[in-house]
Point group: C2
Chain length 343, copies 2
């Protein structure tokens, strides 16, 4: 790449000869045909008119962690967001912001991981962009992926479909991603065998749809964990939500690390777990479907009355949680500072 | 925003209460309805099956420059990329990477600018994401925008449509954006009255299509300027391209600054200029259409023979330029280091 020390330099983002070389020698060989990467906009044909669209930037540290890396996270994260609308991925975009001095070998490893995750999800990087910032103005690699999906079912999978009496399920045990990242930060001196739960949510979502479950809403439990997701769903659906603390599945290591460090496991990030909201009549079948993929999938709560008829306290804290002693308390959302740069 | 000094803190990117507040108090009031910003993926209906998709990250420094700012650039830049496929914008995504300590007032100004540019382009931010990195791991604001467009014409606007004898036109004078950014960098002590050419390319593209011009290819002349664009088009279309140096319109300030600093004006970035490739029989009408928007739009070159039958030198340097004395030389692409972080 025209530099003996094998690192990214500012010119790689300048749109000239070095940019061209980076594309032709590193990006295109890994990610696919030149045609898909070099033009202003790519043309594609949609098989349906019902689309879904999502975007996420990824700034996770470290770039490589037990169970994944920033490249795999960037693909699965955005594709999972599409599946939360029940949408099949059609096209992915890739925006890289590289820091001057980044080793090309690191970039190549991330690109390989992106390519592998794309193959797994049946999607391709159709358009991309690379920028370079000076040393000390970035942090290795930041990635943005945006994704277009096509919706091929008649359900309205959306907070507005949530109804009183609906059942809340999680697709597996919680908090692995956050805990794995925490342990991977060397400064903490924490050693666990735990891996991130990073995974595609396509199989369980497709199975729910195929089983005819009347899915009202889906939400992946990433940044902010279960607590943020349930709080947001309660607010955006304008319904109270009640969680049963004893029903929430946690890996023993997650529970132990959170205990040790005084962190809330319900605020820990996941990258392969989702919340499923469905009518009570479908809940048992939904649980069976989810348990085919993760044996500790569980029913963890219910949707209560509309906020319009709820108490003032409930309107302020629409989500609450009941502990083993039967004590009900507002669900604590957390300020968001417990673990920065988790994704 | 829960912090007395009015700056971004790490928790604003943590997915908890602070993230929620940032969305509800700053982002949603400026960019639009909550529904469009808070969900994993947004659903939208496409009026046609022929889509275009593009992505770009923006790391320009300074954030505010004569004639624009990073917010306006991020909207127009990606929407212009869609128009380069002749596609009308349908939806925009917005990914923000903020540096801890960024003033909220700066963020709000950028968001206002994004909202205004969206209104001008007839598009909305339909999905978004905000991340925060520690002080010294970013640089104020980085923005990614991705855009979906719909193609409502039957032309194949693409390098593969380029034919021998085609005419190359530019839609106006070149190099203003790069020069304005250069002058805005205080360390250079350069003072000019020049503004960036940052503008929507929708009006001239729509006018070309409405006039029935058989447009073979369009390319906006951003990073890398005219030199990169012509070199890339020559390579991807596998045809020689010849530019006439005396025909290329340059603003006197651009020419002067480039002379002074030893920069190549043909490598200077633009953000509101494009290259148009059309058959010779349509070139005069195309020029008339373009001149209705910019009086100094010009015919600047032609497409030569296919590379397959060209000389070895031409296959290596498929684009060349003829100067006032009639001397032909290979078009120098530049390494890309002449001006980092131009967009």
């Amino acid at each position: 790449m025209a530099r003996p020390d094998g690192t990214i330099q500012l010119g790689h983002g300048g749109g000239g000869r070095l940019s061209q070389q980076l594309m032709q020698e590193l990006v295109v060989p890994v990610l696919g045909p030149e045609d898909a990467v070099l033009h202003d906009a790519v043309r594609l044909v949609s098989p349906g008119s019902q689309l879904a669209f999502t975007t996420d930037s990824y700034v996770v540290q470290p770039l490589f962690f037990p169970g994944g890396d920033i490249g795999r996270l960037a693909v699965l994260g955005s594709v999972n967001d599409l599946w939360m609308a029940g949408a099949r991925p059609l096209a992915l975009s890739l925006g890289l912001i590289l820091e001057e001095g980044l080793e090309l070998a690191v970039l190549e490893r991330v690109l390989q991981s992106i390519a592998q995750a794309c193959r797994q999800c049946g999607v391709s990087v159709m358009t991309g962009d690379t920028k370079v910032v000076e040393r000390g103005k970035g942090d290795g690699i930041f990635i943005n992926t945006s994704a277009i999906g096509v919706v091929e079912h008649d359900l309205q999978i959306h907070p507005s479909s949530i109804r009183p009496g609906d059942v809340l399920l999680v697709s597996g045990d919680l908090g692995r991603h956050g805990t794995a990242i925490l342990a991977a930060r060397k400064s903490l001196g924490l050693r666990t065998a735990l891996e991130s739960d990073l995974a595609s949510l396509q199989p369980p979502v497709e199975a729910l749809l195929a089983a005819g479950i009347r899915v009202h809403c889906l939400r992946d439990l990433t940044r902010g964990g279960l607590a943020s997701a349930v709080d947001e769903l309660a607010r955006s659906s304008a319904h109270c939500c009640l969680l049963e603390e004893t029903a929430i599945p946690l890996h023993p290591t997650v529970a132990g690390v959170c205990d040790l460090l005084g962190l809330d496991p319900l605020g820990m990030a996941n990258e392969g777990r989702m919340l499923v909201v469905c009518p009570p009549s479908d809940a048992e079948r939904a649980l069976q479907v989810l348990q085919e993929f993760q044996t500790d999938a569980a029913v963890i709560g219910t949707v209560g009355e509309p906020l319009a008829v709820a108490s003032a306290l409930q309107r302020r804290y629409p989500a609450s949680i009941r502990n083993a002693l039967g004590v009900l308390r507002p669900l604590d959302l957390g300020s968001g500072e417990q673990l920065p740069r988790i994704c």
